[in-house]
């Protein structure tokens, strides 16, 4: 009877042990992916720096030409770019930005145009019946520049058509392996100050071909692509960092459970043995008692 409880517990311990093995493996995989994702962030950095320098020099040498991408944010429909992953088991990596967008959309007077990256965003918005302009899947695991181009095209199309007067990205920034932060980053319009900061001091006289006016729009479109690419890379690294932490917690939790169940199981077994001994001793006593009675008679 008591052995039944012991068997149930033994089975549960086994299943928790199996789960622990899986979470441990996921934790290790995520850890190795963080390193790779950080490498990709570093590889992409020189281009972004050089790219910014080109616009800065253009601004310094002939003044920043007028562009529809450079302006103060105007009131109007808000474009929102949400970056989530395709897979779960990564703590609040997906739920946090999605809840933030949901809150922003629910604000009275807000007209939202959503560009959603990741399967998690897709199912979230579908379930809540929030309309999404465009979806991109299969990105954060290993973002490529082609992904960034596709997303940037959608974002720029919304902006160019006037369907969104501003576009913000709701995404997780990767500050370091130990620290990531959810941020809302303005993508469009681009703040001209960004390119004017580095210009005081020496200003070279650039030969520009074709004219600065013709160059600025393609450059800024490229800048948007590049900005989105950088955000995707950071989100990817963050996803792996979140997953590693979530899986580490799960592994620790499994260890705790195993310890707890083992203790309960041992007690159950001990109880069963004690009961059995009591029964045997009781039985023996009863036998001896009846023998004594017979002798007396």
């Amino acid at each position: 009877m008591a052995g039944g409880q012991e068997r149930i517990l033994r089975r549960r311990i086994k299943s928790v042990q199996a789960t622990k093995k899986i979470t441990k493996a996921m934790e290790l995989i995520a850890a190795s992916r963080i390193v790779k994702a950080m490498g990709r962030i570093n590889d992409a950095r020189p281009y972004l720096t050089a790219m910014t320098k080109v616009v800065e020099d253009l601004a310094a040498s002939s003044g920043l030409p007028k562009s529809r991408y450079l302006a103060d944010p105007q009131p109007g429909p808000r474009g929102m770019l949400v970056i989530t992953s395709d897979r779960g088991l990564c703590g609040s990596f997906n739920s946090a930005p999605l809840r933030m967008v949901e809150k922003a959309v629910a604000q009275p007077g807000t007209q939202a145009k959503i560009v959603a990256v990741g399967k998690k965003a897709q199912s979230f918005f579908r379930y809540r019946e929030i309309p999404v302009e465009h979806q991109v899947l299969g990105v954060t695991d290993r973002p490529t520049y082609a992904h960034a181009q596709e997303i940037a095209q959608q974002v720029l199309a919304l902006y160019d058509a006037g369907e969104a007067t501003t576009v913000d990205a709701f995404t997780t920034r990767f500050l370091s392996a130990g620290s990531q932060r959810l941020e809302v980053i303005p993508i469009l319009p681009i703040d001209p100050e960004k390119f004017l900061s580095g210009t005081h001091g020496q200003s070279l006289d650039f030969e520009i071909e074709p004219s600065p006016e013709e160059l600025i729009d393609p450059l800024l479109r490229l800048y948007v692509e590049e900005m989105i690419f950088a955000l995707l890379l950071e989100a990817s690294a963050s996803e792996h960092a979140y997953r590693q932490r979530a899986m580490k917690a799960a592994t620790e939790n499994a260890e705790e459970l195993i310890k707890k169940y083992t203790r309960i199981m041992n007690r159950a077994r001990q109880d069963a043995i004690t009961t059995e001994i009591m029964e045997i001793v009781g039985g023996a006593e009863a036998l001896r008692a009846s023998d004594n009675l017979e002798e007396l008679e």
Partner: protein, 135 residues
Amino acid sequence: MAATMHAELLTPERSLFSGDVTYVMARTGDGDIAFLANHAPFIGTLEICVVKIERPGEADLFAAVHGGFVHVAKNRVTLLADVAELANEIDVARARLAMERAEQVLAHATDTSVEAALRRAHVRLAVSETFTRHS
């Protein structure tokens, strides 16, 4: 020894080349352009083209570049390419296939994106050919 300058060939995903060079040739919107040391500051667009980089004491470097920007300042040439490949990285079979496919489409239609694809394939093949001839 000829005067050198610093050159970089960058793509969004990684840096393909960075080092001291004596000569860089590329094609901008206005035609071919070559940069030597101490070139005047310059900003321009890059076409789909072959880029040739000459290094002191080492073999010349060829790369297929598919559009982007070039920035020259303070004796540094920076090539910012959307997509670029060094000669030894090019998948010749794939480029040839892409060329044939594009030619088939263009035989009975005009499509600017297919034309660009054809140009990309041509550039890739040209780069890998010069590379194999040199080595």
